[in-house]
Amino acid sequence: MAEARTAQALRTAARLGLISAAALAVFAAILLAAGKDPLKAYADTFSYTLANAYGFSELLVRMTPLLLTAVAAALPSRLGLINVGGEGQLYMGAWLASAGAFMFPGLPWWLLLPLVTLLGFLGGAAWAAIPGLLRAARLVNETIATLLLNYVAPLIVSFFIFGPWRAKENSAYPQTSLFPEAARLPSFFDTRVHAGLLVALAALLAYWLLVEKTRWGVSMRAIGGNGEAAQRLGIPVAAWIVIALAVGGGCAGLAGMGEAMGVHGRLRPGLSPGYGFTGFLISWLAGGRPLGILFMAFLFAILTSAGDTLQITQGLPYSVVNILLAMILFIVLARRPARGGAK
């Protein structure tokens, strides 16, 4: 049994390796066509991220929100739901956590920190529960609903950044005041790696335990595997749809809280460079499997660092790295054997 599992894991790793290689090759070609030097870009990325301790720590910083937004997509995917709203749920988590931090600045850290963490979760959960209810009532497809809400959440956050929460001191950047120290997540050594990483890993572990080891996981996987049979066997499908989306959204909310309380210390408009979408990609490519998510999150942390490198060393906008992500998706999609097609 164990050998079969290891062989399977090796095969999957080899497959992912091949896909990544192919994608990198196509991306290199595109960069060449644009007059850039792909080899230098790749080399720079390597030296920036893997070749030194600080660079490695930055990878962990980047991985933290990716793990959480991946779980945000992965949990609902077990029921067959598509949650592409990680971006919006992340922002709303950050928003609600910030609200808590600004409203109770006097609380000691052992009260405030758990409070903002809880609020981060609730903000994302509530934002995801809306499309959840719409889907459970069969009114709106959750893909479109979560996508649209992605555009609304950052605007709500911006409203507060430019309005009630605006930093008193004159600053060139639009941003809020700093959060009270008691609300800040502690960081490790001299890096920017913060306790949010532990939260993210805990969330990944909890996700795995929930889906694989609890009776709730059995119900969820039954819905995802055969919704009609699940319903006929008495599982309350509609309720589960809302719960799964809400809990997933909560994880994305924690990512937002982590970025705000752990990395930046304040709210800024560009809080997330697409973590929500990248998380969805990670979950999708990993098939919702926790180990795969861990691996892909690390891989994507490196890949998205390439985006920064491209920006710094080759003068390309960060967004160009989306081409690489798209290439990976294209290759996986084009390879999938056509099976029972449903929407």
Partner: protein
Amino acid sequence: MDSPGSTPLLEARGITRRYGTVLANDRVDLSLYGGEVHALLGENGAGKSTLSKILYGFTRPDAGDVLCAGQPARLRSPADARALGIGMVFQNFMLIPALSVLENIALFLTDLAPVIRRKALERRIREYMDRFGLRVDPSAAVRQLTVGDQQKVEILKLLLARARVLIFDEPTKVLAPHEVTALFQVFGALKAEGYAILFITHKLREVVACADRITVLRQGRVTGALDSGRADPDALVALMFGERAGEGRPREAPRPASGARPILELASAGARAAGSETALKDLDLAIGEGEIVGVAGVSGSGQKELGDLILGLRPLSSGAKRILGADASSWSIARMRESGIAFIPEDPLVMAAVPGMSVRENLVLGTGRRYWKGAGLDWPRLESVMGESFKALAFPLPRLDPPMGALSGGNLQRVVIARELAHGPRLVVALYPTRGLDVRSAASVRDLLRRVRDGGSGVLLISEDLDELAELADRLLVMYGGAIAGEFRRGAWQAEQVGHLMTGSGEAAHG
């Protein structure tokens, strides 16, 4: 009608077709002449639809020939059939509900201009409408039409595409009585202009009313080919169903009616229908302890809807449902299961199992709260209880780790049965439980249902197999059109009688 000496417009000679182990058509001969209505009669599963698929080019026969106007025809696809002037009106119309009548007809024309000339097309359509009495509004959307009118559109499609042979697959299944009359008038008009009509059905009365010649199929073979003059309903039923009802077979003595409170009661229960479902009307039904109640009927008579109603999947729109006297009309599915209602479906992979999950996990689905243990499940106790269930049923215990979808059909059914029976259900709803099973598996399922009954539970057995029902049912209900057309005690019915009720050609009867 063409004289017998002339060449048939369409002919099947020695058609044989197998699907796996099932011999759907066994050396079938049929000849269809211009200017006649020829009925192809048989019960469900007799091989009618297979033959029609072959005649229309959907499938190829394993042996035998199809001749068109005397010439051998190579039908590789429906396009070939259409080119030869063979048209088919399906049970499920090949119409696009959202498009108009005109557009649906235009879609299937082979000589349609790039820019559609609506006025000219409409004129052509009206011409055919008037000639054959097929009046519909060309600009109406098909989904707004009654089923009878939709069928007219299907016919017009074929006529405008210059078909000369029209095959109708169970055309009256979905029609109201007056629409059936209208259809037969259309047949008359078409017949008069030399069209050949093949009318596939299981409804005796209609065959007798409109057919010129009749071919009867049973279990893939032609059991009779008659002129309508020599065909009376009894003879036809005998050809369709054969000698049945357990003559010469060891029969159980009729069981006395149980005096105890019924497990399940339906009182004037009704349910709405959506789309192609059958609405249920005013059903009165009681199932007691220790009895098997069988439900016979051709497909589409409402049996599946009845099963879903009992299980809690379908809400009642009128009347009441009671479990052991308690009003269960609005109970959830989970609650129905908890109160001891079990379900054995025809297709467990679709309805009662999750293929991607392991056998072990499938065993715990639908067991409600019984194995809850904190946040997890009491796997050891589940395995023990289920193991007992398998043992009591004399089923081999499968490996529990592999995914459910890896099991063979028979094994899958056994796992589902073991799970459903593990907690001593009060009532087992069995929906076509032996459909698709090999002879041995089917026999053991039947044995099992008997044992369930002998153990004091009630069984609702919905089946299309009259043999099976004769063997097992203590009481037999016949459904037709969403209502109960007849009720019989064991031994008090004959296949003929039930056959009439199933096909709508008998009077409501009891026995």
